[in-house]
Subunit: 455 residues, 4 copies
């Protein structure tokens, strides 16, 4: 007799769909079978049982200039849990003068004890000094096994720095996750737009068109080919970047990529919303015209993209006002950690764009695998953590701000009603969400010491 | 306590790799967990436990003119089992004057009671008469849920017939499996070669170059796009056909494809072997130059190809002699049903071209899913048939004719030693192969009434 | 002192633009220089002097079933002349039971003595019998150096016939000009539309979508690659066919293609015109959506397409009524021989899509070169025929039916005002059009015994 | 009666091939016709008469560090003339601390009075300061209408500088000519090779692989797309760069490109020549493997490439010795200004890769057009400069160092015998080369004040 049995659900993994009971001992899945007996029993009849979902790209308490993104490690992880996500990956970003190790300690200090779900941290390299390069192997050994790199913003790195960091990443097995947009091009376009009096949110996408993203992706992938480093392209948005990725793969490179729900579902049209509403959609890379969506969905379905992440980075509408007279001053980012899984299920599985298996793969197994969390996270198998989501495929939920838990005063998806929603979320065998209410304990989330990426 | 426990193996599915015991009750997997107790126990320590593999393209006892392929349903299925394959799909091909239903009954008569493993049958349409079209729904309901179509040979169909059959297949949910080569082109090229005195086996590939295959694939896929029918391209061999498939997918079509080990591993160079040795490699579509292999492996790895099949159709070297003075008279086909899985494991997983998961997907889960056998076959999950292969990843095996069980007097892979081989094969809970020896019973294999293809 | 001098014009060839006088002796250009003296002088100050334009695809007096296209050799060639075209190529199409030689004699009989400008004739093969194949070399030697082939209509040929004819064409140097649309696909789609009660002109394009054209192009080009025959694709309309052509070129094949003004300028939207107006635009391959136009213009500009032809084949609106209740009964074809050059100048050169040189190349030099008329026709050089067009780049002309000379009761371009029009047209030194009025003599046009195509 | 008549030659332009006499008055072509009478007559019977060829990329007296390339303005232009080239374009490159205007005056001082043929000069921007940007319009007005930009070497510019210069070039109509190779990538690769003890010439191409060139091309073209500037890519070498160009064109950009004979004809194999011989072939971008040549020839034939230039920059074998122990110290560059036209004729026209017209276009008309020299240079038309080359298509010439006039002690093409060679070269009506001997006067060449590039 095991501690807990999830009975009669339809278990879905990246490969399988079948009906069985799941037995949990302590924090892990101990057995899968029929007629399992447990101290405690949860009835999953009529529900899918999915592995707890993994969001590999989240920014909580992110300071940008003098403002800080509105979800902290507590509010953000509670919201994630309510949406079915049981693991997030956030970022360590050294401040000026701070070493990568110092930044790591500081970031752990902000998160540990305040998280409602398990979490890990990507490193971010903001320079390529010998100190930074030397810090990487030790940090990798401590479970920080991925490395965020930027081609734009203040954290941007030039080609020479990229080459050093990519080579170092290959040496110690870190997987780079790269934000690719050409910085000089953005500055040129911004200056031109502002000079022409084009200051509203609708000009944001014109300041960062698809070619600007694809150029940087092509450059980074070329350099990664020279150093022999596998790379994951962050939040790609357009067919041009897909083409750059395909070209690198055809040269034999290992290239991975994540996409965000906003780029699959929203579009430049949203920047034209009345008043300053468009500012809510100011995020980077920006929303694109709808013609990019079908190729992205197809790549998601056929294996060209490995993960759906959110780049969750909400700002209140108040905070967005900073850019009322100048779109370049609008804090970039939007909420999403809670809505990712319901949106991809409803718009993906529900509309025939993704199979159930592929949905689990891109929302759980894929990101877990890329970032060294598998098989502890990302699947339902004997020995894996009992992170489980009971999912009612018929439950409808309108994604209004009021019905969500993210600490932000609007929703990007106010008008959308999804079909399919979590009814119960469990982490390591404990129920943490029941009927859209967080019932776990803040602080129960653990830091995940991640393994190295393996293909 | 279950009937049987496979203990301590490393279970591999299309998604997962983990260590656990498998409990079998009767013919099915009843539980997966640790420390399972069973009436009988098989120790799998140090072994992978794979789902029984599925070969979706096999020709046993195939009559071509006045000769018959050398493996019959007994020898062929024993050989399959020894190579780790527990399910095959063969073909029903009406003879002149025979209806599809009559051919079905006849073929069942040849197989039932003589097969060592479970099997199913594809229908073959050799015309598009109203009788044939009307027979399809009933046969689909009886578990014959796929439809072989040819663009060449005597069974070839013209564009109008294709349109009728594709439309009918869509109506009743049959998945067409299409052999694509342009018949007129082959005849033209053959005539030219023979007229020029080019009669040896080395001219076989020149009579059916890649464009001849790709043209027919493009045509069939265009027609399938018009009728809205998903299609599986049989045994593709070249990057030109891959391009035709990619183009159809970009148009939004559902297209699947299988590839054979011989096209991944052998090449036109084999036609230049001394004497008449090249005749052993005369199969169609023919072997290509090596430049096609990397794109095929990549498509297999990244999801562009769904299945590895064999097109197993052996002829003795004696039978091949018919074409000694004229390569067009050499019976087309080669042995392969036994060597498929070890070759793909050793050359794929062993050489880093495929992950373990992807290996299982293309050799088991993928073909099972395409042809309506999943989840009964193709995976290791509670409720699935207990078709299991215990695999020693260190076992070496030289693929000589003597060490294999196929009823043919040569091996295409005499010089190749694979690393990784089955040590025990089980069908529905019964051991049928132990240490490369068939220990099951002929006739124990069952006809599989297959479901409809679901994406 | 020469017979005639064209003074002070700006001479434009496929390569050059320069100001000079042209001296004509008899029927040919004798000199180019400054201050030439002549018996007669034509002042071309302010005008471009272009070579007489060549329309390589015209159907005059074309019988289809029981109707005949409305322009005969006289009205059609007068209209051509008024639009700046001094050479057309029409077709010889054997009727059932007629040999190619008989058809040739018959067609010559219809044209000789009735043409207002010089003309040549393409052969059409409607079968691949030994008689037809044997007739080709002799007819080529008589100046019939191109061969129309069809994949649809009653004249359609199957793959085997194509291979024979393509091989024969290569042998005697004939350039095949191929109409590519998949016949069976069209019949399938037509039947489906009619069965669904979709009988209006707007369903015409749905019965022959781009893939139907591209599939046949790909097939024909594949076969031509096997026989080693250069091929010209007739009136391509879509990016899919362009892709098929590019693929064949990448394989090393010599492939040429022509495009028609209607496919560059009109679109499927025209089928939605009120009432039965859409029937005027029923031609095949049909008009496409506008997204195909930019790729076609680009291919025209950059050398991917070699010629602009018209496929001129007008039917009166009365004749079009036959298909009032069934779009498949509408005679296919439209007027165009007179409007081609002004449209391509105005929409091409005038809108910056084509350089002046490229305009001359695709409307004159290119078709002349492809079909063995160069250097007699298609350029302005010493020794060439004095076929010259004086062109006023500022002259505006609204393309109404009344202002045009084609024997048909409507214009496809009623609303379009072009800028740039011929003011004087000369054939072999004689003025045949002055200010949009034909002033030559019917019967003065000559049959052109064409040379073989040379790359 | 004109001053000079070239009688009975076969005149070849980018569009035409025809037999006629050419009449010259003073320095220009005055008439083309038959039976022209002149004070002086040159018999061209049996010869082609080509326009004087234009080499748009030549480096004479180029200082690199403490060495200077071995041909000066006199030896280099005499050699050019002997090879049929009557116009070259060299470069103005500011030294540190020198303004663009000062550099222009200095460079004119080195060339004027010392050139044997007409010449022009490209500007080179080595920074994007306001002073440099402001100098451009004035220099453009003085006939310096093109702008060399580098992504590597000390003259390299970063993305921001590129954007400023591209925008400025668009404003004043300058055509940028861009050397594209990723600098940081080259430095990374060089360092790795040297660290591994790989110091010989054969490692040169490994330090600058195709992707390094294509990445920079893609970046520059992306930026040029944002500024709306037409761009010419200098000396491209590989299919990857061709793909980047095609992608930019598909986005609607105006992109041009030149290729050099060495990249069409030589290959990486030449770096493996015995001893230090490989050093003779050290030039950048480097020679590639032969698989790139067919795509380059095809692009040259079909209009994808507009010009064949040489990047002539010879160093004596003595000078090359500097890099005996370290390939990165070998002065980059090779001789070519004299051999370009015979090689492209013999290997291009002679081997059926280029038509006669296309040969003239890429060696004369194309570069003249791109760089504002047309119609003064680049064609044979009334009013153009009488720069003419009489060409014996049967004359054979082995390209040994002894038979050539370039001031360098080796030839890259010692083993190659071309068929087709100039027998007489004329500039502005004066004979300057007769039978491979320079008979003109040094100093008779003129500076060409070029017009703006027009499409």
């Amino acid at each position: 007799m095991v501690d807990l049995v999830i009975k009669n659900g339809t278990i879905v993994t990246a490969a399988d769909v079948y009906q069985a009971d799941i037995g949990v001992e302590g924090e892990r899945i101990a057995s899968i079978g029929h007629d399992l007996a447990g101290q405690e029993v949860v009835d999953a009849t009529g529900y899918y049982v999915f592995p707890g979902f993994v969001d590999a790209h989240v920014h909580l308490s992110l300071p940008v200039g003098d403002v800080v993104s509105s979800d902290d490690f507590t509010t953000g992880t509670i919201a994630a849990a309510c949406g079915g996500t049981t693991t997030i990956l956030d970022f360590i970003t050294p401040q000026p003068g701070q070493s990568l190790q110092e930044a790591t300690i500081a970031r752990r200090g902000e998160a540990d004890g305040r998280v409602a779900i398990d979490y890990g941290l990507h490193l971010t390299a903001v320079d390529a000094t010998p100190e930074t390069l030397e810090a990487l192997p030790e940090l990798a050994a401590q479970g920080y096994t991925s490395l965020k790199l930027y081609t734009t913003y203040d954290m941007r790195l030039d080609d020479e720095q990229f080459l050093r960091l990519l080579a170092a990443a290959r040496e110690c097995g870190l997987l780079p996750l790269v934000h690719t947009e050409n910085h000089a091009a953005i500055e040129y376009l911004k200056a031109g737009l502002l000079a022409a009096g084009k200051t509203g949110p609708r000009y944001h996408p014109l300041s960062r068109p698809p070619v600007v993203e694809a150029e940087a992706a092509n450059r980074v992938l070329t350099l990664a080919g020279l150093t022999g480093t596998p790379v994951c392209i962050a939040h790609l948005t357009c067919r041009e970047t897909l083409a750059a990725i395909e070209a690198a793969r055809a040269r034999g490179q290992a290239v991975y990529a994540e996409v965000c729900p906003q780029h699959l579902l929203l579009s430049v049209d949203d920047y034209d919303r009345p008043g300053f509403e468009g500012a809510k959609f100011v995020l980077s890379p920006p929303l694109r015209d709808r013609s990019h969506q079908q190729p992205l969905w197809r790549a998601l379905a056929n294996g060209g993209l490995q993960a759906v992440s959110t780049d969750h980075c909400p700002w209140t509408f108040e905070q967005k006002q900073r850019g009322r007279d100048d779109f370049t001053q609008i804090p970039n980012g939007a909420p999403g950690v809670e809505t990712r899984v319901p949106l991809i299920y409803s718009e993906g599985v529900g509309k025939g764009r993704l199979s159930l298996n592929r949905f689990v793969e891109v929302c759980a197994t894929g990101p877990a695998r890329l970032f060294g969390l598998y098989p502890q996270k990302g699947t339902i198998a004997v020995g894996s953590d009992a992170d489980l989501v009971l999912w009612d495929p018929e439950k409808e939920h309108r994604l209004t701000q009021e019905s969500l838990h993210m600490n932000v005063d609007y929703s990007l998806y106010e008008d959308i009603t999804v079909r399919g929603y979590p009814v119960l979320v469990m982490q390591r065998g404990r129920v943490i969400v029941r009927d859209n209410e967080f019932v776990g304990s803040v602080g129960a989330g653990r830091f995940l010491r991640r393994g190295l990426f393996r293909l």
